[in-house]
Amino acid sequence: MSTAVLFDAPGPATRLRHLVYTIVTVVVLVALVAFAVVKLAADDQFTGDKWEVFTTPDYVRILLVDGLLQTLKMAGAAVVGAVVLGFFLGVGKLSDHAVVRWPCWAFVELFRALPVLLLMVFTWYLLGIANDASSFRAVVIALMLYNGSVLAEVLRAGVLAVPRGQAEAAYALGMRKSQVMTIVLMPQAVKIMLPALISQCVVALKDTALGQYVAAPGLTFVSRQIYTEFSNRVPSVFVVAAIYIVINLLLTALATWVQRRYVGERKQLEVLATGTADQTTI
């Protein structure tokens, strides 16, 4: 349902009323922004030396290389791992053999119910907190387990979204189960689930920021170094937030484009956290 059906085309009185609403909203929003700017200015947050560091080439390089690149590396490694894990778990959940299906189901349910932070803290201690590399690995492993479980559900939903006749026709041709899955269902399912996969990258990328609880490298870590050196905590919050938002918007735009290009009108696949006891197989 498009939004326009919710209200009639406005008449003269309604147009006037909407104009009043518009003016009130604009005034309130402008007042809020002005208030924020005045308060920040009064707190000396706009002084050049608090922002200068973000235009100094050396620090920009540190922010991008030690910060952003590390964050992207963590997210990238986690997503690659999650895709592999999600593939096996998702196919396992579709298996005809209960002995394969149930463990996969239990694994997915468990790791979808646990907070990523809990997994991170546990993995961090498991790998040894004294070891410098373990924070990075803890973040990657925790994100891999969580996102892998979500992607397993995405893959399962994607395969089940392929029209039933496809599998039936493939069986009628005499294909084996593994052939039906790899030759017929998976190529179509991948297309359907690609946008959801890219959206999951946004989740993984956002969750890398949790790494600061286990002393992991990345944007939040570098921003802490910068604000302890220059005592510009407020500007650094804004800069880090802006970097995350820009990258996530790019990923979202990519997901939308892929959806339009490869999937068409169908709604983007969405996996829900409830009612997952369904054990349908192909």
């Binding site: 518009t22 909203t25 907070p115 932070l117 809990l118 546990f122 600061q212």
Partner: protein, 228 residues
């Protein structure tokens, strides 16, 4: 496992904070989400744009950074939670707790808005058209006809959003609320050889909370499902 079982008080206290954060932020985020969705589907273009901008920005910001905003930036605007000091037994609801509830609510409300919007889109066209035909204004169309059906249709996505909120309460640990993950970290710090047992204990706590909520949501969904 033994360290937790021998000293069960902090464990329960941790999950008490987790549940309190979830309840407060769950209610607030739902209310705010309804307001946001009304803005986003409403007839006033500026409100639509404001709602869309809010949702886009908040959804793409890591929750940790929103917490950081309320810890370091909001005090400059005079948004402080120092007035909050409620003590119920060992549970202390202080300024850190207040900031955590607000951060979680604002973050989750963007997702609630999107879940409700997908529900609004699922309501058949004829419903809104009939409501307009009998002369209901926009508020009436939304309140009397569309939202009651949209909320039914969006029970599953709303439940997913709230389950995500249960898990996201753990981020409050980063900002000093002594909820379950913070308790687990301090347990693990003190008894690092028992880390696996401690992890299992806390994992059980989360799984129980999530599964109980998920069970309730599934029941609700079955009961409220719109006949098709």
């Amino acid at each position: 496992m033994d360290p937790v079982l021998n000293d069960f008080q902090p464990y329960l206290l941790g999950f008490a904070y987790t549940l309190l954060l979830f309840v407060f932020a769950g209610v607030l985020s739902t209310l705010l989400g309804v307001v946001l969705v009304a803005m986003r589907v409403g007839p006033v273009a500026v409100l639509r744009a404001a709602g869309a901008t809010y949702v886009t920005v908040v959804r793409n910001t890591p929750l940790v950074i929103i917490f950081g905003f309320f810890t370091f930036v909001a005090p400059i605007f005079g948004v402080k939670f120092g007035w909050l000091d409620i003590r119920i037994g060992d549970v202390v609801l202080d300024d850190l707790f207040g900031a955590a509830v607000v951060a979680l609510s604002l973050y989750t409300s963007a997702f609630v808005c999107e879940a409700l919007r997908s529900g609004v889109n699922a309501v058949p066209l004829g419903q809104a058209e009939a409501a307009r035909a009998i002369g209901l204004p926009f508020g009436g169309v939304l309140r009397e006809v569309v939202l009651p059906q949209a909320i039914r249709a969006s029970v599953p996505p709303l439940a997913s959003v709230q389950i995500a909120l249960i898990k996201n309460t753990s981020v409050a640990a980063v900002f000093g609320v002594a909820e379950a993950v913070a308790q687990m970290r301090s347990f693990t710090n003190n008894f690092s050889s028992e880390r696996t047992g401690i992890f299992i204990m806390f994992a059980i706590g989360y799984v129980v909370i999530v599964e109980v909520f998920s069970f309730g949501a599934t029941r609700l969904e079955r009961r409220y499902r719109v006949a098709t």
